[in-house]
């Protein structure tokens, strides 16, 4: 075989592969189209049957037990479950139970099926939120596949299965940031029921050498839940944290949690060496909105760091006497402090109100100063 023959043979092989690819493309197109159309039709049909069975328990529409293997049936169950409330959910749960859907999906989770099918089983169990699936979902919080673990935690959250809180928190530190953030959503969903376990986790694990990302996330969840009872304990921990990132997270959480007990400690952190801590303290004081912080935040407008000045101005806008301080700050010799005060006055609606008063001929000197300041001169030196 000479060179030309080899080249021609190669051409033949290449075009054969092209033809196979083209055939594959056509087949895939046809299969996709048919599968999607058929899936939509069956889902609509199942929705109709299930809806009748739920609304009229004596209805005798026949559902073939084999349909539990059908993705369209599972989608219909999920769709229906997400639109129901109260006793209807129990009726649907009864139907699901009769067809052994939970057992079947649990078996799929335990199988060696590829990721797609196992993930689908986890999603179905999570969406159905049936209490009987709780042990399976807890078991698969240790699954090798992160997305399956996420769905299991989500399912436990949906059914508000409080015994699962410790199981989820236990795994918090070992998880990747992605899984941890999804676990965090679940724990937020548990609300006040999760706070003491989270606080215990923070107490035990803070300032370990291997990094504090999980502890920071736990503190963040405490802030989002906003349960006031944990405030004193968090303040106590805040004074013990060595890692500035932990301090920042705790100060942030205290801003969300609110309450007068956090004000004095937070004012103290306005003098911290780390500007990020001062910045977060100013921000949190603004969230709490206690007038006790007025003087401290006024000093914050003169901070060496411009972020702290900006946060102090924004915080003052939420305080009862803060607006007056901000109007005074428009005369500050520091350009960033002036602009920060102007931004805060605009964001809190004071600029709009000043404009309205001017249009009605009722503008005060402070209004005119503010309106004039907004349009004067270049922005950046």
């Amino acid at each position: 075989m000479n060179g030309t023959q080899i080249a021609l043979l190669a051409v033949g092989i290449v075009f054969t592969v092209d033809a196979v690819l083209l055939l594959g493309l056509i087949t895939l197109k046809a299969v996709h189209r048919q599968r999607m159309e058929s899936h939509d039709q069956r889902r609509s049909a199942f929705l109709g049957v299930l809806s009748r069975r739920v609304s009229f328990p004596l209805h005798t529409d026949y559902i073939d037990p084999k349909v539990v293997n059908d993705g369209a049936f599972l989608d219909a169950v999920i769709d229906l479950r997400n639109t129901m409330a109260g006793p209807e959910i129990e009726t649907l749960a009864g139907i699901i139970d009769r067809y052994g859907l939970v057992k079947q999906q649990a078996a799929r989770l335990r199988s060696r099926f590829p990721l797609g099918r196992r993930l689908r089983a986890a999603v179905v169990l999570a969406e159905m939120g049936d209490e009987s699936s709780a042990p399976v979902l807890i078991e698969f919080l240790d699954d090798r596949e992160p997305e399956v673990r996420i769905q299991c935690a989500r399912g436990l959250g949906r059914m508000h299965h409080t015994p699962a809180i410790d199981a989820i928190i236990e795994r918090f530190g070992q998880e990747s940031p992605w899984v941890r953030s999804r676990f965090a959503d679940t724990l937020v969903g548990f609300g006040a029921g999760a706070v003491w376990s989270l606080l215990a986790y923070v107490r035990v694990n803070h300032d370990h050498d291997e990094g504090n990302e999980a502890v920071i996330e736990a503190i963040r969840i405490l802030g989002i839940i906003g349960e006031r009872d944990v405030g004193p304990a968090l303040i106590d921990l805040l004074h013990r944290f060595r890692d500035p990132e932990l301090k920042i997270a705790a100060i942030d959480a205290l801003g969300y949690i609110g309450g007068p007990m956090a004000v004095t400690p937070l004012i103290g952190f306005l003098d911290a060496d780390d500007w990020r801590i001062r910045n977060k303290a100013a921000h949190s004081l603004g969230e709490i909105g206690d007038p006790l912080a007025n003087d401290a935040l006024r000093r914050g407008l003169e901070d060496a760091n411009w972020w702290v000045r900006r946060s102090s101005a924004a915080a003052l806008a939420g305080l009862s006497e803060g607006l007056e301080v901000l109007h005074q700050a428009l005369h500050s010799g520091d350009l960033f402090a002036r602009d920060a005060a102007a931004e805060a006055l605009a964001d809190c609606g004071e600029l709009g109100r000043a404009r309205e008063r001017e249009e009605q001929g009722q503008a005060t000197d402070a209004d005119r100063q503010l309106l004039g300041f907004m349009t004067e001169g270049a922005l950046v030196p």
């Binding site: 690819l21 797609g116 922005l379």
Partner: protein
């Protein structure tokens, strides 16, 4: 002797072309492996849970606008309803000479404000800053003209959040694109400094009030060819680079950047014709040089739709500009090429960019003359010539069909007629259009004043894109 040289040069050129196509096929196969997981997550996973999550990191959407009066309101409105829990929109009016600023002021009830704007990245002077009074969290930076990169830098300076989505005024964001892209950030907040998205041409699709109603492959050849190119690039190449942790480019039309990282390298380079590639590569270099752990990733399910050139004239300008950008980047990052210090970025990605992107038009253009000459002088016989050209065509077709197969498996955007049009395009693009793009790239290499300007994109505006003709 001369005939032997001609014959072997001819063989060399064809071999180079085949190697290039095989490299594309390899990337395609690797992309398929990389996308399988994304595919499962999209089908069965619940990435959308991030929508209701209070722990999702906030994002600033930065939009540079220069003479975008025609579609700026629709664009911003469509972006303002993208699915994500917390974001702000920062539009930079880059010294527009039309009514862009006034339309923004009227459309979003903007009022002039002063904010503590800090020029972390130096830009052309900022004239004024406006904030929206309505329901959209929008800030408009009005500055003197400085080009797209300068406008992006000003937007990044004004952004309040740690991540900035830098995009264009003529794009439509898919409802889930921000969630899908930010998912990659949440996966590893410490290391993720940039996330690229999947860009698809919008021409020919049905768009109403800035929303994509139905996607369609355009009937006109010029934009249709670009659909195929975009599929090849965004589905059969970028996922592979991302999987290798060596992505050379986060496209300018959709890139989520960690603000602090962009500021650390000085922002986008003004006046650069490939400022997106330049920034991506500078970020690689900065982090490797300083031994800072990082990752730059691509997310195929983060889809955005953009208007692509509709005529050969505009396409020519765009391609010349892109190749000039590539040339500048190849020059700037030459020390990284085949440099083991830069790991896969230097040894694989940038080496491939040099060999198969930068050199490709030169070698192919040379082949146009040398192969016929070799044939005319008898150095190649008919059978050899046909075999070589057939092989080149067949392998080229293979990479396109593989890309379309990936699109069908993971995209679901095309109806049967659309797929048929793209298959036909895969055959006919080799009969003139591809050669034309090579000629434009050669034009970019030759240079001259006309190749150093951005030129006018001549857009229809996102609201009018369904109207082909």
């Amino acid at each position: 002797m001369i005939l032997d040289v001609l014959r072997w040069v001819g063989y060399g050129i064809i071999t180079y072309f085949i190697l290039m196509q095989l490299y594309l096929i390899f990337l395609g196969l690797m992309s398929a492996v990389a996308m399988r997981r994304t595919h499962h997550l999209n089908r069965f996973g619940r990435v959308g849970d991030m929508l209701s999550s209070q722990t999702s990191p906030p994002v600033s959407i930065v939009i540079p606008a220069y003479n975008e009066a025609m579609g700026i309101i629709e664009s911003v409105r469509s972006m303002s309803i993208v699915g994500y829990p917390r974001f702000e929109i920062v539009v930079t009016n880059d010294g527009s000479t039309d009514e862009t600023l006034q339309r923004l002021i009227d459309g979003f009830k903007l009022e002039r404000v002063r904010i503590p704007y800090r020029p972390d990245i130096p830009t052309a002077p900022v004239r004024a800053i406006y904030r929206g009074r309505g329901s959209v969290d929008i800030t408009v930076i009005d500055k003197e003209n400085g080009g797209r990169a300068d406008a992006l830098n000003a937007g990044i300076n004004a952004a309040r959040y740690p991540y900035a989505l830098c995009t264009d005024a003529d794009v439509i964001l898919d409802a889930k694109c921000l969630v899908s892209a930010m998912r990659r950030v949440v996966e590893d907040r410490q290391r993720t400094i940039a996330v690229g998205g999947n860009i698809r041409p919008l021409n020919g699709s049905k768009v109403e009030l800035g929303h994509l109603i139905r996607s369609e492959v355009p009937k006109r050849l010029v934009p249709r060819m670009q659909v195929l190119e975009y599929v090849r690039t965004f589905l059969a190449s970028r996922p592979a680079w991302s999987r290798m942790d060596a992505l050379p480019l986060v496209s300018g039309a959709f890139g989520i950047w960690k603000r602090s990282a962009v500021i650390a390298v000085g922002g986008f380079t003004t006046g650069h014709m490939g400022e997106d590639m330049d920034l991506t590569m500078r970020l690689h270099r900065y982090h490797i040089d300083n031994k800072i752990p990082y990752r730059i990733v691509y997310e195929p399910s983060a889809v955005i739709w953009t208007e692509v050139p509709d005529t050969l004239r505009v396409l020519k300008r765009q391609r010349i500009r892109w190749h000039r950008g590539l040339m500048t980047a190849v020059r700037d990052f030459l020390p990284m090429t085949f440099n083991p210090k830069y790991g896969k970025v230097g040894m694989v990605t940038w080496a491939a960019m040099f060999l198969f992107e930068f050199l490709a038009p030169i070698i192919e253009f040379t082949g146009w003359f040398l192969i016929p000459l070799a044939f005319l002088l008898g150095a190649l016989n008919v059978a050899n010539l046909v075999a070589m050209l057939g092989l080149a065509l067949g392998v080229g077709l293979m990479s396109s069909l593989l890309a379309l197969l990936l699109d069908e498996s993971f995209g679901y955007f095309n109806g049967p007629a659309d797929t048929a049009r793209l298959v036909v395009m895969a055959f006919i693009e080799n009969l003139g259009l591809r050669q034309l793009t090579v000629a434009w790239r050669i034009r970019a290499i030759i240079g001259g004043k006309s190749t150093r300007t951005w030129g006018n994109m001549e857009r229809k505006g996102v609201a009018n894109l369904g109207l082909e003709g």
